[in-house]
């Protein structure tokens, strides 16, 4: 790879990182919030490196003649960048021009349900508000682990995106969570009964009650909901968290 092209590649990579982390929230499609300062730092560093490179090679060209050639011996060792370096253009350009969306229904539909739910022994009493805003993981834990059965009969509100259940029909309310980057995505799904499936990847808030089955508070109970209402909501900025539904409008 020629020297000027290397400089361009450094600048493009830096610009790509700054575009997703500094001038927008796109980085949340790929990594966690905590990475932002690191990404901005890396972007700035790459751009500075590219700029000093450009300046020094311009200066060398102005000096011209023998100094430039005398330097050649030094430049040679480093300028032999192997072919795979070209591959860096792909993420750099992709970040700048063609950023892919956050993971969604496609990924979730290929994962087993409820992998992401941790085990808990002590459950606090549920707050009295109705409908009760709750996360998908909390709801699943309450249904399958809380032996007091406090969730039974309660009206709950949850937000997630739509994943279709495949050949059997029906659909899941879904959240994808990441621990580090989108490569380690895990999903939590709650089956929704009594409402037609919206288009996959639509973000909705569902109000409803637990769909009875098995014994509540044990692994035999399905994480499922009888829907009373399904409203479309905006996709949250940080989609890879299992957050409470946004406050209801007009209530």
């Amino acid at each position: 790879m020629r020297r000027p092209l290397q400089t361009v590649l450094l600048l493009l990579s830096g610009a790509g990182l700054l575009r997703i982390a500094l001038f927008g929230d796109l980085y949340l499609r790929y990594v966690k919030e905590g990475m932002r300062p690191l990404l901005i730092g890396s972007g700035v560093l790459l751009i500075l490196l590219g700029l000093t490179d450009a300046v020094s090679s311009l200066r060398r060209r102005e000096d011209g003649g023998h100094t430039g050639h005398g330097d050649g011996g030094h430049g040679h060792q480093h300028s032999s960048v192997p072919r795979p370096a070209w591959l860096l253009f792909l993420p750099a350009l992709s970040l700048l021009l063609y950023a892919p969306p956050a993971l969604g229904a496609y990924t979730a539909s290929r994962e087993p349900a409820e992998v992401a739910v941790t085990h808990e022994d002590d459950f606090d009493p549920l707050p009295a508000t109705s409908p009760l805003p709750i996360t998908l993981s909390d709801f699943t834990r309450r249904v399958r682990q809380d032996r007091t059965g406090a969730i039974g009969g309660r009206t709950v509100r949850m937000t997630g995106f739509v994943t279709s259940a495949g050949q059997g029909g029906g659909w899941f309310l879904t959240r994808i969570m990441i621990s580090c980057c989108a490569a380690d995505a895990r999903s939590v799904k709650v089956r929704v009964h009594g409402a037609p499936a919206p288009a996959a990847d639509t973000w909705v808030t569902v109000t409803g009650a637990w769909h009875p089955g098995g014994t509540l508070g044990t692994g035999s109970a399905p994480a499922a909901l009888d829907a009373r209402s399904v409203e479309k909501t905006a996709e949250p900025v940080n989609a890879y968290t299992d957050a409470l539904p946004p406050p209801a409008l007009g209530r």
Binding site: M1, Q6, L9, L10, S13, L17, I20, Y27, R29, Y30, V31, M35, L38, L39, G41, S42, L45, L46, L49, T52, D53, S56, H74, G75, H78, S79, V81, P82, R83, P84, A85, W86, L87, L88, L90, P91, S94, L95, P100, P101, A102, L103, G104, A105, Y106, T107, R110, E111, P112, V115, A116, T118, H119, S179, C180, C181, A182, A183, D184, R186
Partner: protein, 346 residues
């Protein structure tokens, strides 16, 4: 990888088709008339872009691109940290510093270098360039490899993450620390015993500060070179990891969680193909709740030492002959070490 091929093909297609008159595999024997050529030149790029774009927007391709970018974006800051550190070691730290810190006998230097891995906070991407520059500064390769293997697994950031991911199980943190140190030291000694210098790419490293040159310039040049070099291989590894991630659904896991031996081997294999960064793999391991503690320990010991992006990075830095042998041996040693230590502690 499919994406690259596609991009390459796309850029090559136009001249090929424009000159297609002389190609015999297309079945054209007669020169095409000019108007047809012009028409093709006007429409083919658009058609290719349109269908290519449609294909890139299918859910599977979008997931692939997202995962690929995610691995790259996540690793880039740590790769930069590693290259900056290795550039600094190269340009500013005199070689005698290392000979003073490390014991003179390589057999003793190996475990000391393994423990020294504690000081490099970051994931595995940072440790490859640093190990490379250590070798360039005269550190015996065996000790540098012990450092390379242990640093991503035993630094405080990773151990804290492990403790957070396995609350109330301090045994897991201790077992991870010990099993990683043991595997790293064994690999160092194995290199002393069986390793051959010719497996390493000749002239692994532009060595150190040259008298008369500007240290700052050397630092910058080394930094740029290392970053572009390792970055390309990082993208290659990210593509491979994304391909496995999208092609093999997680539900396949359940089939293996029953048998204790199979599950250890299976999670070791999973750690290699998923290429999760070492700061996050504890959380992934914690989420694999169907598996035995020993299998999950194996996942966390193998992951930082051998995975697809790391193999690609090592191949780029030390040469392919080295990367394949070294990774295969490391995988075996790491599995054995985690089974032995995990079996005793967990």
């Amino acid at each position: 990888m499919r994406q690259t091929e596609w991009v390459l093909r796309k850029t090559e297609e136009r001249p090929e088709i424009a000159e297609g008159t002389e190609r015999d595999d297309g079945g054209y024997d007669l020169p095409l008339p000019w108007p047809l050529l012009l028409l093709a030149a006007a429409t083919v790029p658009g058609v290719v872009l349109y269908f290519g774009g449609r294909w890139m927007e299918t859910p599977a391709m979008e997931a692939w691109r997202t995962v690929c970018l995610a691995v790259t974006v996540q690793a880039l800051p740590f790769l930069l940290l590693g290259t900056a550190l290795s550039g600094a070691i190269n340009a500013f730290v005199p070689a005698r510093v290392f000979s003073r810190i490390l014991p003179r006998r390589p057999v003793l230097a190996v475990p000391v270098a393994g423990v020294a891995g504690v000081v490099l906070p970051g994931c595995e991407c940072a440790s490859v360039p640093v190990a490379n520059s250590l070798i360039g500064r005269g550190v015996t390769p065996a000790a540098a490899f012990a450092f390379l293997l242990s640093a991503p697994a035993v630094n405080p950031v990773v151990l804290t993450a492990t403790a957070v991911a396995f609350p109330g199980q301090p045994g897991m943190v201790v077992a991870r620390l010990l099993a990683s140190l043991a595997a790293a030291s064994v690999m160092g000694w194995l290199w002393l015993w069986l390793g051959r210098a010719e497996w390493l790419r000749a002239g692994v490293r532009h060595g150190g500060h040259q008298p008369g040159g500007s240290r700052w310039r050397e630092f910058r040049d080394g930094f740029r070179h290392d970053f572009l070099h390792a970055g390309g291989f990082l993208v290659l590894g990210a593509m491979a990891a994304a391909t496995f991630n999208v092609a093999v659904p997680r539900s396949v896991l359940d089939a293996f969680s029953g048998s204790p031996w199979l599950s250890v081997l299976f999670l070791a294999g999973l750690a290699i193909v998923l290429s999760v960064c070492s700061e996050a793999d504890a959380f992934v391991a914690a989420s694999l709740s169907g598996f035995s503690p020993v299998a999950r320990l194996t996942f966390m010991v193998v992951g930082p030492m051998v995975d697809l992006k790391l193999i690609a990075l090592q191949a780029g830095t030390f040469g392919r002959a080295f990367a394949l042998r070294f990774s295969a041996a490391t995988a075996v040693v790491a599995v054995l070490s985690s089974v032995l230590i995990g079996g005793a502690l967990l």
